[in-house]
Symmetry: C2
Subunit: 325 residues, 2 copies
């Protein structure tokens, strides 16, 4: 059996995933372009592979049509927006993922981004590196109302970290009854109320037909003039050009964006000093990234050895994609 | 009575301090140079003032000799390293300060700086604004050992915020028995052990003869190769040129420096990408800064009205300065 590892980086800080594949007897090729692959690039590489150990590159109907031998997609990460699940099922390709591994790293980064935005840390740092001294005013997290849109694994982690600050937390989720959110400090509210009230609005959603372009000019303009917005979930949740326009008009105090519709991102948000940009680094702590790669390669080896998979994508995820047809 | 307000900014986001002085009938002049004054600049301004509402500019023996009418120094902030307390006492000048007001803002900023350093947020942001995409690896706070040097108001605040992350915390203070530090997650240790073990080392100390140049090349080289260092207390605690040399040699993964021996700072640390620099913004949240200015101006008005002061500098602070003679 042959595996194609498309995710990058892979085995970079911790070589365990490579050893797992070798010890498991799985022959593998690592992404030769060392960047997120396009649909076309991926199509060129898949014709003879049995397993894809996948990042967020598009595993579309076209890719699957070309991958005649494919039997397993093992996603390094949680989001499934990049995988055509229904087409995979039709072609008898199993799909597994690592839904718990990235959450702690994303939740922590989100807290850091909140404080950086509130205190204009990145603006002061840019200026100080140009020998410009200005003491910026900021706000304290403890004094803020934080809006958490999406209370899954990551949103709940964010809420847990906020417990050491004592801020007011407003939460929205499509299924609050399923959330592991137990803090007394939270209040469930509808999204619009959160947009209108919160000082900080942070998104922790999967990208689906329902969440795609959830935040347009309209929603951004509902927000407080001095609100800050954070997206560490998926590009496509916030319409990037609308965010650029609204921020250019002076509305909204700052944004921290880690995820983009097109990655690598080189778009106009990089012209805005109050837009804090990072390169899809939410899950990129050494420990979480290693756990993601280890879980995904272990699953590949299990499949290769004929053992049952333990992190197969649940039925709900297929239903979400079915609904969006 | 005439007051000179030397601290900058003053009454910038919240005008209450100006109103307090006006309502209290205190005539005042605000720092005409709108920057931190040097000893010489201050000497030019003090000859006819009764009260100084002071920032961190040097109120030295020379300044006090020129300030013949001076009766009160009301410090906006906590540090007293800039005031010659013994000379003030000799000349019958009372000194008061605002020791509680800045702490919450400094403690929060410190947490933000920790996460930014661990995840290389500021480096990615700099690069993204130049259209360069690179997914940096980082570490998680929850996985780190955090060394807190100084467990006063600010250090204790930092420890409280860390409670939502579950990291291991090592603490040092000259008087642990006086600290309000009650967390079960902490371990008291000597400074050298902390330097050798901690992933993150953060300083929350007053600048005194005992803490000046506490951290030299020797202490920096004791630290782990991948340690990160944070100073939001006072410039002068870490020898800046030693930090520059050690970081230039590749030892230490990153530093976040908010305070400098000479402010405004334009020195060589600004050449290091992994040195996150901010412009003495620790206390600069709108709420804490307002509280500092309000408390300091209320004290001036009390003095003017012949009421007793409520935040006079305690005897220990005089003893600290006496010891260093």
């Amino acid at each position: 059996m042959k595996a194609l590892v498309t995710t990058v980086p892979f085995g970079a800080e911790d070589q365990t995933p490579l050893k797992i594949l070798e010890k498991g007897g799985v022959e593998y090729l690592v992404n030769p372009l060392n960047k997120k692959l396009t649909e076309e690039e991926l199509m060129e590489l898949v014709s003879d592979v049995d397993i894809i150990i996948a990042g967020t590159e598009p595993i579309t109907r076209n890719v699957l049509a070309r991958a005649n031998k494919l039997k397993l997609i093992s996603r390094v990460g949680i989001g499934l927006d990049s995988v055509d699940l229904l087409e995979a099922r039709k072609r008898n390709v199993k799909v597994c993922y690592t839904p718990d591994a990235p959450a702690p790293a994303v939740a922590e980064l989100t807290i850091g981004l909140m404080i950086s935005l509130l205190r204009r840390v990145q603006i002061s740092n840019l200026r100080m590196h140009r020998q410009q001294w200005h003491r910026y005013f900021g706000r304290r997290l403890s004094e803020c109302t934080v809006g958490v849109i999406g209370a899954g694994r990551i949103g709940v982690g964010v809420i847990k970290h906020l417990s050491g600050f004592g801020c007011k937390i407003l939460v929205n989720d499509i299924a609050p009854e399923n959330s592991a959110c137990e803090s007394d400090a939270i209040e469930w509210q509808d999204k619009e109320s959160i947009y209108r009230q919160a000082d900080i609005i942070t998104f922790h959603l999967p990208l689906t037909q329902d969440t795609k372009h959830l935040v347009t000019k309209k929603e951004l303009e509902m927000m407080r003039h001095d609100a800050v917005v954070i997206n560490t979930s998926r590009g496509g949740i916030i319409v990037e050009s609308d965010l650029f326009d609204v921020m250019s008009s002076g509305h909204i105090n700052g944004a921290a964006i880690d995820v983009f519709e097109q990655e690598p991102y080189t778009g106009p948000l990089s012209k805005l000093e109050n837009c804090l940009l990072t390169a899809h680094m939410g899950s990129m702590s050494v420990d979480c990234r290693a756990r993601m790669e280890i879980e995904a390669t272990q699953e590949a080896v299990r499949f290769f050895s004929g053992e049952p998979l333990i992190r197969e994508v649940p039925e709900e995820e297929y239903i979400v994609q079915e609904k969006s047809l």
